[in-house]
């Protein structure tokens, strides 16, 4: 565990203390595991194929992501954020598997733009106009794309948090 990883774990644990542990529990990606080739012990522990970006948006207003959150994922290039893909969450606010992986997952600066206003209006959550939070930009840097990056966002109409999850 390098210094950054060690520090990250410390910070993550402080976030977990402040949040609901039950909401943050992660399940493994069984589908991905099953598609891996048969065990080859000659592979390095970290291979390029392991690097990937996943997303989990957690609705802390309802205590579960009961709706569908629409997200624009962009990458900073040539002085601007450029749209890579627009996706809707599935399965309790998760992305449908990896958003980016392998060579497509490049180091740099990313932005996930969350349609928080549309999410709550679809659920008919009573809110003022304009909403305090509308489209919420979550910017995050990726320094080591050979690692797994799990972007976790806790959101409700009045606040949000994000962190590098696992």
């Amino acid at each position: 565990m390098d210094q950054h990883e060690s520090s990250r774990r410390q910070f993550l644990s402080s976030v977990l203390v402040a949040s609901s542990g039950a909401l943050l529990s992660e399940t493994s990606f069984a589908a991905d595991e099953s598609t891996k080739p048969a065990a080859s012990t000659t592979q390095p522990v970290r291979s390029i194929e392991e690097g990937r970006l996943t997303f989990h948006g957690i609705d802390t207003h309802h205590g579960a992501t009961i709706g569908t959150l629409s997200v624009e994922l962009s990458y900073f290039e040539g002085g601007a954020f450029r749209l890579i893909k627009h996706f809707d969450t599935v399965k309790n606010g998760r992305s449908d598997g990896a958003l980016l992986q392998g060579a497509a997952f490049k180091p740099g600066l990313y932005e996930a733009l969350l349609y928080v206003d549309d999410y709550f209006s679809a659920l008919k959550t009573p809110l003022p106009t304009p909403n305090f939070l509308k489209k919420v930009p979550i910017r995050f840097g990726v320094s080591t794309p050979q690692e797994r990056y799990h972007l976790a966002v806790l959101f409700n109409p009045w606040n949000y948090s994000y962190y590098r999850g696992s």
Binding site: Q3, H4, S7, R8, F11, L12, S14, V15, P107, G108, L109, P128, T129, P130, N131, F132, L133, K134, K135, V136, P137, R139, F140, G141, V142, S143, T144, W158, N159, Y160, S161, Y162, Y163, R164
Partner: protein, 117 residues
């Protein structure tokens, strides 16, 4: 009290986020236009309100927190680019008779914002 205020806390160290730069903008015709650049004081707050009550309009605003520069100045060795860099927080003011306090709780790996009081 109405108007717009902020407060930066370094959640990693459990102390105020002093000396952090914040760019404060308002959305005009689809573009965020800079109103002012401020630096937090020793308590992590700004010496003056970001907008006084009589200056505040219904509309959309952005606070851009220079979290990466802050932690660099604190001696934290983040990878490049850091996971949490310059953090935009966009929010709407819907009632100018109310107070909008928008804090930033930051670490190099996470951050939180909310409508406070």
């Amino acid at each position: 009290m109405a108007g717009i205020t902020t407060h930066v806390l370094n959640s990693a160290a459990g102390k105020p986020g002093a000396g952090m730069r914040i760019d404060f903008s308002i959305l005009v015709d689809g573009t965020y236009r800079l109103l002012k650049t401020v630096t937090t004081n020793t308590d992590g707050r700004t010496d003056q309100m970001l907008l006084r009550p009589e200056e505040t309009q219904v509309g959309e605003y952005e606070l851009l927190f220079y979290v990466d520069d802050y932690f660099k100045a604190q001696g934290y060795k983040s990878p490049e680019p850091p996971f949490v860099g310059k953090v935009p927080v966009r929010f709407s003011v819907f009632d100018t008779t109310q107070h909008y306090h928008v804090p930033m709780l930051a670490t190099p790996w996470s951050c939180t914002t909310y409508r406070g009081s």
